[in-house]
Symmetry: C2
Subunit: 85 residues, 2 copies
């Protein structure tokens, strides 16, 4: 069965996020006052697997080995059966 | 009133996404077969405004001027009143 997978990757609390602070500073220079700026990356893909558990196990593996750095990143995995099949 | 804002920035359909194709190739090298890899960036912040309409107008402005390149990006704005106030 085909599954759609979404992995949300964010920096752990307390890690500096230079991308976010640059955005906040640039917005301030343009006159927009915003606070607590943060950035999150999402990686989406689809894959073939037996069931949701197998997908979850495999995607967790991918996160640990390639997609994330577990020392500095939090990740959240969302799995949904593919719609148009 | 304080609002939490989330801007989801993705490449328009048909734009090449080298980040996504590199991820897919690297996953394949590690033995994970995935398809249709795509990446999305989220910028989150909070801001003070009168009402949701005012927030939406201002954030749309920010997207056009700084956060996105309207030629190649799609963006989606999510606004929610801040919880803990």
């Amino acid at each position: 069965m085909k599954y759609d997978v979404e992995v949300k990757i964010s920096l752990k609390k307390g890690m500096l996020n230079p991308e976010a602070s640059t955005i906040q500073r640039a917005l301030a220079l343009l006159g927009y006052e915003v606070q607590d700026t943060d950035t999150v990356n999402i990686v989406k893909f689809s894959m073939d697997e037996e069931d949701t558990n197998a997908v979850e196990k495999e995607v967790d593996d991918m996160c640990q080995r390639l997609l994330c750095n577990p020392v500095i990143h939090n990740y959240e995995i969302q799995i949904s059966p593919m719609r148009d099949e």
